[in-house]
Symmetry: C2
Subunit: 236 residues, 2 copies
Amino acid sequence: MEERILGVLGGMGPLASAEFMRQLTLLTPAERDQDHIPAVLWSDPRVPDRTAARQGRGPDPLPALLRGIHGLEAAGAGAIAIPCNTAHGWIKGMRAATRLPILHIVEAAADALRAAGIGPGPVGVMGTAATLAMGLYQEGLRAGGWEVLLPTEEEMARLVSPGIALVKANRVADSHAPLAEAAGALAARGARAVVLGCTEIPLGIAAGPALPFPVIDTIEALALAAIRWARASSPG
Amino acid sequence: MEERILGVLGGMGPLASAEFMRQLTLLTPAERDQDHIPAVLWSDPRVPDRTAARQGRGPDPLPALLRGIHGLEAAGAGAIAIPCNTAHGWIKGMRAATRLPILHIVEAAADALRAAGIGPGPVGVMGTAATLAMGLYQEGLRAGGWEVLLPTEEEMARLVSPGIALVKANRVADSHAPLAEAAGALAARGARAVVLGCTEIPLGIAAGPALPFPVIDTIEALALAAIRWARASSPG
């Protein structure tokens, strides 16, 4: 029996985790249950708010993240995917605490940009205030030759942060308009594609009409990276 | 910190498990991540085919089911939900192997029938050939005063079994027509509602126009039962 199991450190938020599991399934070539990738999803929505912690307004999420990682290790996981961009701000602490490889969502997004034919030049990145303040994408995408355009502070406060909060509160349909407006503003300022760099954002964007410019769904990008890991590590 | 965690024994199939996690999230009243229910999903699509085993054509799934249950126990689960109807044919063996309560999907479906106002009388039940042969629903619903109508053997072979297989092969859109036709045939024979008693079936039914008679989505019914468990066991 194939023993490679994908560990998914999720719950941040739980709807994005469910969507990650759905895309992991739908993007895997399969004819029957047994062709799909074994996975354990540790969905712990109690992990302290990552943005609040980074802004000094709440407790450190690292202990809860490590509890999840150790739970996934105990369940037999061979690698870890984290469908929450902001949590990647703690990746050093997580990597120091486990021997398991952690698939990096920013690298997965860069792979997706390349696969979409978006070469060097300006791309937009939407995310939580903490993801943008920590520079997760600015640093990760600069190495690939992309120039990162961010929402303005006004757009963050009026559109992006409220849109993310609406998804976390199960008001997905209501989140479409503010998130689509913020993405459109980045495209209007020259972004050739917009990276939806918070896993709540693709859920909101998908709840309305398709946008007239390329977007990178970081849930899908991470699912594809996970499938590549699972397939590369399978015997035969 | 609230220590009650829902264990989800899934992967049978994996798309139904993802949908269970999605409905668990969307049906939970929540304003932020931390209001959602902590859960661990053990998604093991390698569990031997339940229908093949029951028909003597494949290995016993019980050892793989118990491996999942023990993994969920180790992860700290306080109860187990299994979003696969056919697997409930092994519930005695599972209950004998764990002290954790297992929420029964047939009881959840009966609760959903009552909540939908479907009183005693004929109701249709669709499911795998094994679920119907084991009488999971016939026995469970008779106690509540319902009379169970089943698809004919011809409908099972031409519509229901192929429809379920299409969902497991990620061909969800293609599964709608055969599954909807089988449900419609039960309604035409007098069923006042049709229980979608295999967790692949609601995925296929949702992929097309709504049916003109009540259906019971056993993924949703089990998610609601899990939310009731989580809320009843929460302090405060």
